[in-house]
Symmetry: C2
Subunit: 213 residues, 2 copies
Amino acid sequence: MRIGELSRRTGVPVPTVKYYVREGLLPPGQLTSPNQASYDETHERRLRLIRALLDVGGLKVAAIREVLAAVDDPARSVHDVLGEATNSIITRYGEEADDEAVAARAEVDALMARRGWQVDPDNPAADALAAALAALGRLGHGGFARVLDDYADAAQTVARADLGYVAGRAAMDDLVESVVIGTVLGDAVFIALRRLAQVDESARIYGAGKAPR
Amino acid sequence: MRIGELSRRTGVPVPTVKYYVREGLLPPGQLTSPNQASYDETHERRLRLIRALLDVGGLKVAAIREVLAAVDDPARSVHDVLGEATNSIITRYGEEADDEAVAARAEVDALMARRGWQVDPDNPAADALAAALAALGRLGHGGFARVLDDYADAAQTVARADLGYVAGRAAMDDLVESVVIGTVLGDAVFIALRRLAQVDESARIYGAGKAPR
């Protein structure tokens, strides 16, 4: 199909499609004449993936480039591929070395030991967790650590559902893409559900009166 | 304290502090002479909150302005305040009206009915959830709906911990700030924990060999 048809099918404007090609997110079309290219269903699918990562996942173009590189990598061990795909999504923070950062790091190590999690201590998600806990500590919310195990319980529930869902999709060739989609959009799904469950919980505790049952 | 001291204590460069004042995120200091202003601990605390929302929460400046407006609002009913504080954080998406959007919206309504959640159907988090599910559907992951109740279980676990944590902080005057901090940084905490739990779960299922126990 021509670029106009690709744009019509996906709702992505033509100049934006061209921008994604220039940025290396979308492979160029097959040249059919010196200034006309032809696109196929793989382009359409990739374009939908880019938009989902941007619009729903809130990823930046540079992060999407990294994630798509993992998607396009030839398959290695499932565990390695899963690790790389998720590592390329996690936010990385600058290092700080104040008391809060040290305490938060110890909290993370203790949590992982307590739960027997088989995770490399250098995993970027462990750094991200420590950074979030350190930020809470700096804001006077060090007490948040008391609910950390409730969060970890919930995270395990979700992770089991995630892995079960991915295992249910047989084809290895779309495994990494499934992991990326499930990870980024799964975050968005969980965050929205957390808000809804908070509203419900708040209505039950504090009484909403007008809220429909 | 002077702006230089405020900058030193928080690690935020002086021009950035001035930018936050111009953007209305940080109240101006008390003028002590025509071109010198004095800042106090409330400025220091607000500056840390802005940085946490930006760096860990990934919020944009416009969203932070909206959130801080909720924080600075005179207190109303706890339930209303909680709702507004979280509504101002949720991502809003453009409307699409394709088959996937219709199916996703029906899925969300069915979920809320099934769980008896006391939530206004117009809650922006319900729209955000529908948008994420519609994006999954467009990418061929409509089957993700099968794990939605596992996600909802996890979200309820987290929401109960959240409300319990907030209730444990007695002072009403920092309630909204606590909710904002807990909501935004809690998302970051959960997302990092989900990655770690996925790695652990993947190691158990697919075998990692080298991963430390």
